[in-house]
Symmetry: C2
């Protein structure tokens, strides 16, 4: 245990695998960077392990690695995009470029994408817009694993809400949150680690009863954030993604772990050019003041600091840039197997601390 | 006890009071309709009782009842508006009209307003955009009563998130939620009703420790929805309102119950013209399908139905349209006193059931 990989090596490896699977280099680079971003920030569920699913979907013809999609139509400051089952990061790079162009031209831009694939961490795309001087919001819908409040039947996904703001990536507000109390994989992990119980509010059993029993939760349902409000937010995201884009809805959506049909999620990108509201340096100064006021507020009993959305991930990123990205032996074995089957040079490891 | 008022009479009364306080009729009508909307939907915290605070702020020169503000500048699909301390509903009607015009012209429109007052229920404004065929989002910041996650010092407000969609008002998705677990006034009510405890997750004591003790909660802090995620959402709203508009931030914001300084909140309106993405009837059909799938999902153990955001309020509205809006004797006494002091005809009551 405790082996690590540098981000550069992980990106090299991801690109090589994708190219071997027939992906043009520019698309392979976007996908690999997006996944490394996830690993660097400690969001390993959205890191390189997704690539193994992508490769399976390519093998089954569900992801078209050469496709980048095209605008169905553009009008004023909006664009409806057809992602044509291209790799999620390849089509999202196009969509963010359009959103950024529209925002630069009109002050705001909205792009929806249908027939899309997993775009990795939403934060990567919100930052793509923030780096262009825009407030960036990125939403997507997801496989139906979450039941609405008061229901026991899954009807929508973890439907994340994500927002980034212009300013230095290393010290900024960067929100990227599922609209469930916790990400589903925290329940999977508790189950895998044989933890008998999980905190209240995380999950319900298969009949929709709130539970703290790990096994019941594993066989049950991920709970929406705070009950009916989380459901409301998830439906908001569902409307802005699948309903507005004309994309797949409900049971039409596939799953990344299944290969019967394409994933076919929908994305929503909103870019707002802050410079059309106030000077860029004034916006950044106001953001810095807000963040300082939050971090400078007195900690509650039991805590010694107050954090802003994005702070925990940046800390992990600093650590992992310095010491490498750690992987379990099981993950390394799976990645090694993929390297062998595609005939690419295996991951070079460095020893973790 | 149990006296009621028709919505028409309540609107007449609100307009009369506002006119007597120097408000031009069109502005008075917007404000009164906005408040009656709150009462009709059972959101009495955003109903006619707010008018008493508005009148106090007018008396102190903090609300300028004749002001409607003006655009600071407009560029492409965005507009930065200065609300100039006009009545919140008067300036918000202007801002929504601009957002609707921008969305009709460019597919999307964004309007920020600074130096603004309380705009009542956000849902009223989101519906104003939805009635024009647009997805409408309305956000505002608020007096600092909520501490960030891990903090015990209030740094932002209940910062609501609100969204409406085109389609029939009576049967649609209409989300209007504070980014706290519950509205602050539910804790006040539990305290007033001498209930010894409140559910977990609602509040923290003054040191920021989670508490279910009603008195500790009353003297403590409203909890952000689901902890750090609710804080993230509140900060998202804060950025889109005060930071982007150039408006008052943090301690600069006043309070509706205080008269030392203007409230000076900021508003954010986003309108998206769905007809630029897909035909209006297709959008409505897709919405109807989504809503039907949610309502049609199997109820969890202990429930016999599944609701969509807005359903509970519409039920109350049907009830109150049929039987009148009920008021407590204390509320009626306060409204009667206002009628006397402004020399307007008192509220005509009808007997509640």
């Amino acid at each position: 245990m405790g082996q690590a990989v540098t981000p550069e090596e992980l990106e090299r490896f991801g690109i090589a695998l994708l190219e071997a699977a027939g992906t043009p280099t520019p698309f392979a680079r976007e996908v690999a960077r997006n996944l490394v971003f996830g690993n660097l920030r400690g969001v390993d569920s959205h890191g390189i392990r997704l690539l193994l699913y992508y490769l399976e979907h390519i093998r089954h013809g569900l992801i078209v690695p050469t496709a980048v999609g095209e605008p169905l139509h553009e009008f004023g400051a909006i664009c409806a995009y057809d992602a044509a089952f291209g790799l999620g990061a390849a089509t999202s790079a196009e969509c963010c470029a359009i959103a950024n162009r529209l925002a630069s031209t009109h002050g705001v831009g909205v792009v929806t994408a249908r027939r899309a694939n997993h775009f990795g961490a939403a934060a990567f795309w919100a930052r793509r817009m923030a780096d262009a001087g825009h407030i960036g919001l990125a939403f997507c819908n997801a496989s139906t694993i979450v039941a609405p409040w008061q229901s026991k039947e899954p009807r929508f996904g973890t439907n994340p809400i994500c927002m980034a703001v212009p300013g230095p990536y290393e010290d900024s507000f960067l929100l990227d949150m599922a609209t469930t109390t916790v990400a589903a994989n925290r329940i999977f992990k508790a189950f895998q680690n044989n933890e008998p119980s999980i905190p209240a509010g995380w999950a319900a059993d298969k009949d929709g009863r709130p539970t703290t029993d790990t096994k019941e939760a594993y066989n049950g349902l991920v709970a929406p954030l705070g009950g009916y409000k989380g459901t409301g937010l998830a439906v908001m995201v569902e409307i802005l993604t699948s309903v507005l884009s004309g994309g797949a809805m409900g049971a039409e959506i596939g799953g990344i772990r299944y290969t019967e049909k394409p994933l076919s999620v929908s994305h929503f990108f909103l870019a707002i050019d802050v410079r059309r509201f106030l000077p860029a340096d004034e916006f950044e100064a106001r953001m810095a003041r807000l963040v300082a006021e939050l971090r400078g507020s007195a900690p509650a009993a039991g805590y010694d600091e107050v954090l802003v959305a994005g702070d925990p991930e940046i800390r992990i990123e600093r650590e992992r840039r310095a010491h490498g990205i750690p992987f379990s032996d099981a993950d390394l074995a799976a990645l090694h197997e993929a390297a062998l089957s595609f005939g690419v040079e295996p991951l070079q490891l460095k020893n973790a601390r």
